[in-house]
């Protein structure tokens, strides 16, 4: 047995650097910058996945990293998601801090056993002797006409499993700060990236021209190190009429719908589902007395069901209307009917109107 093998990963000092320059970044650039910054700071961080090396990923999220950090730290992998995550568990056991990419969240299922039975339970079953400090990045969600195998939102499958964290950003600024926090975190974390808003926020109006992140306040991103702690929600809009819980792409769809309706809603961007910032949620719902939950994932046993249960448990006597959910339907994601499936402005508006009447 070699003494050289460390079983505990200690990251570099995590103190805040002096405020660095801030520049415009879209979400891809912000994610790229997070990995870049962390690879500079921590020599144990490695990036791996299908097409992530020379090519820089099918969404270009890892562009330039192999050229900068070399093939020992940024490498393409064989096409086996189960292998990618299993190898990341092994690398973590050695003492590295892997950041594997699963090309689309729809392709994460072959890795389910390695994620759910292995990565998620390694700390527990070895009583902390071994850990799996990996951050699995994966683009998720619909809105790009990707059909049923490039559109899914499988977060609820993972939030249901103990031992794995689930983080979902909604802006470039959050994407970078949260990804850095996830990489530094010593537990396995799924980092689902809402691919529809990689290049610009999306208000749900698919028939109007796409907007870019240009000019968006949350696309001003520090070039250096900063972190947003996991488990802290963001109040995307403060208000008193009702609370809307959402994350990822849906934050922007909700914001736009609320603006159009002219309603004083409080929009809570969860940012991280596990751990969940239930305190912020509770305070908001107790204040407004109404709660709408919006997610793109299918409805039955979706994360909205958990949110609904927790809000009911904590805020029952403050509720003035039943908690409502707007979600994807319980069908696979259809190709041509993408916009009928997507829980867009029409459905959110109807739900808000109903909840305000109750």
């Amino acid at each position: 047995m070699s003494e050289a093998i460390e079983t505990e990963v200690v990251s570099e000092v995590m103190t805040q650097e002096t405020p660095a320059d801030t520049i415009h970044m879209n979400m891809i650039q912000a994610i790229n910058s997070a990995m870049d910054v962390m690879m500079e700071r921590d020599p144990t961080v490695v990036v791996m996945g299908e097409d992530v090396g020379f090519f820089g990923g099918v969404f270009r999220a890892t562009a330039g990293l192999q050229q900068k950090f070399g093939k020992n730290r940024v490498f393409d992998t064989p096409i086996t998601e189960c292998g990618i995550i299993g190898v990341a568990v092994g690398m973590g056991a050695y003492g590295l801090r892997p950041v594997p990419e699963i090309q689309f969240a729809d392709y994460i299922y072959p890795a389910l056993d390695q994620l759910v039975s292995e990565a998620a339970r390694l700390r527990y079953r070895s009583a902390g002797e071994f850990i799996a400090p990996m951050t699995v990045r994966s683009p998720f969600g619909g809105g790009i006409f990707g059909g049923q195998t490039h559109s899914q939102s499988p977060e609820g499958i993972f939030t249901h499993c103990s031992g794995i964290k689930t983080v979902i950003p909604s802006t470039p600024y959050d994407a970078k700060g949260l990804l850095i926090a996830a990489i530094e975190d010593n537990d396995p974390t799924l980092f689902f990236e809402p691919k529809r808003i990689y290049n610009g926020p999306f208000d749900g109006h698919y028939d109007t021209p796409a907007t870019s992140w240009a000019g968006h306040a949350d696309a001003q991103v520090p070039t250096g190190y900063y972190r947003i702690p996991l488990g802290k929600a963001r109040i995307a809009r403060a208000g008193g009429a009702l609370t809307i819980l959402c994350y990822g792409t849906m934050v922007h769809v909700v914001e736009d719908t609320v603006k159009t309706l002219g309603i004083d809603a409080e929009i809570v961007d969860l940012r991280s589902l596990v751990p969940l910032d239930i305190d912020t949620i509770e305070a908001s719902v107790k204040k407004t007395g109404r709660c709408l939950i919006v997610h793109e994932a299918t409805r039955t046993s979706g994360f909205g069901a958990e949110l609904s249960a927790q809000v009911q448990e904590r805020c029952f006597y403050h509720l003035e209307a039943p908690i409502a959910r707007v979600t994807g339907f319980d069908t696979p994601y259809p190709h041509s009917l993408e916009w009928a499936y997507f829980p867009g402005p029409v459905r959110i508006r109807e739900a808000i109107n109903k909840i305000m009447k109750d």
Binding site: F54, P78, I79, Y107, F145, T300, H335, L337, R347
Partner: protein, 436 residues
């Protein structure tokens, strides 16, 4: 404990004190393709045996006795465009010309549909340029009632089984004529009538499914066999290996094709193991017959498929065939191959173009000439153009002419359960309330 390295444990322990060892540092090998953008392509490392070099073993041979086949290359068409050697299927002229026509049709279809995507008529398309022989050769060697479990790059099978072009295009346009109700990404066909299994976007899932179909056929005393295809990159998936194990254990009547077109999106075949061995050699460890074939030589593809089909039909077991070919175009309409590979590669590919090679062979035989080829190409271009116009009458993606919204809830289950009925009604009410 004995010292497995034989280098003297005591000395090693007296190292620099940091590692306690005096061994060379380990190195990680990360494969690198021979050429990247801006570099010139080099295929000199490919060993290409003579067209008549490969022996043709008996179809009932024991896998262990024919291991060499997994490391050689079955070829029929030689450098002088003649059909030679033990694998020459000696096909009649009409079959050769059918092959040529189907390959040309596949290319014309791809060209038209690629353009349709570029014109914004659909979301996505994938060409099979340069790989036409793989699907056409196999389709013509199989019986029409043999069951195919393809990947997304074997559109040629449907064409060779004379499946209506308009039906395929309706699927690509996701329009109201699409039998699959606009649910699948373009080119993810399903055609049960043509023995063509529903294509999945998830790689290699079809592999064990094909083995299962073949096992069922065997268990029921049927005479039909199954065939499946995946790319070389996809052989890394666990499903590939599960399929091989089942196929071997039950000697399933199945043909497992690996289309080695050298690239998996931006990853060259080295990331699937090609630096170490061939893909046909995957068969060796499983005790399956493995053949390695020049995938740009349709006569070789045909002959190897016939061999494997005869083997399966006579209960001699499964065959894994590696088709050595080249992906001439990008992976799909979503990528630009000049970003990751040398542009010279496709023109320098040493095994040529499958259509050009069969055409030259037919000309050599005196059954074909340049003029007839030009006439055929023109006719096929018109054929696909007319089919596309016909299909476009049923709509193109995103232009309203799709299946009704409520159809989204059908086929999730045989009978729609109450929660889906409720969601369906809710959707209709909401859209109505919104005045849409």
């Amino acid at each position: 404990m004995s010292d497995p390295t034989g280098s003297g444990g005591v000395d090693r322990q007296a190292g620099d004190g940091q590692t306690g060892r005096n061994l060379p540092p380990l190195r990680l090998h990360v494969p690198e393709p021979p050429a990247r953008p801006g570099e010139s392509a080099d295929f000199t490392h490919f060993e290409i045996p003579a067209a008549d070099a490969a022996p043709r073993p008996d179809e009932a041979a024991q896998p262990g006795a024919i291991r060499d086949m997994a490391y050689g290359l079955i070829r029929v068409l030689d450098e002088e465009d003649a059909a030679v050697g033990a694998w020459n299927p000696k096909l009649p002229p009409e079959t050769l010309l059918r092959m040529l026509r189907y390959m040309a049709l596949t290319r014309a279809f791809d060209a038209r549909m690629f353009r349709a995507q570029r014109q914004g008529k659909t979301s996505f398309y994938m060409k099979s340029t340069g790989e036409e022989a793989v699907s056409i050769g196999a389709a013509l060697a199989l019986s029409r009632d043999d069951m195919c479990f393809p990947s997304y790059r074997q559109q040629g099978i449907l064409l060779a089984r004379d499946w209506p072009l308009v039906d395929m295009m309706n699927q690509i346009y996701s329009n109201k004529g699409d039998r699959l109700k606009g649910r699948q990404l373009p080119i993810m066909y399903s055609a049960r009538e043509a023995g063509f299994f529903s294509i999945s976007g998830n790689l290699t899932t079809q592999y064990p499914q094909a083995v299962g179909w073949a096992m069922a056929s065997a268990a029921r005393g049927d005479t039909r066999i199954a065939a499946t295809w995946c790319g070389e990159g996809s052989t890394a998936e666990g499903d590939f290996h599960s399929a091989c194990t089942f196929a071997s254990v039950y000697r399933a009547p199945v043909i497992m094709n690996v289309v080695n077109n050298q690239w998996a999106i931006s990853s060259f075949s080295g990331f699937a193991g090609a630096e170490a061995t061939t893909f046909a050699a995957r068969a060796v460890g499983y005790g399956i017959a493995g053949l390695r074939v020049d995938g740009n030589d349709i006569l070789a593809v045909y002959a190897a498929t016939r061999w494997a089909a005869d083997r399966a039909r006579s209960n001699a077991g499964p065959t894994l065939i590696e088709h050595f070919t080249y992906r001439v175009e990008g992976h799909s309409t979503s990528d630009d191959p000049t970003a990751y590979r040398s542009v010279e590669e496709s023109s320098l590919w040493p095994l040529g173009d499958p259509i050009a090679r069969l055409k030259a062979h037919c000309i050599t035989l005196g059954i074909w000439d340049e003029d007839s080829h030009a006439v055929m190409d023109k006719e096929l271009a018109e054929l696909v153009r007319d089919a596309a116009r016909e299909a476009e009458k049923n709509g193109i993606l995103g232009h309203g002419l799709h299946h009704p919204m409520e159809s989204m809830f059908e086929d999730v289950f045989e009978e729609m359960p109450p929660h889906l009925k409720e969601q369906q009604q809710q959707m209709l009410d909401e859209w109505k309330a919104a005045g849409l």
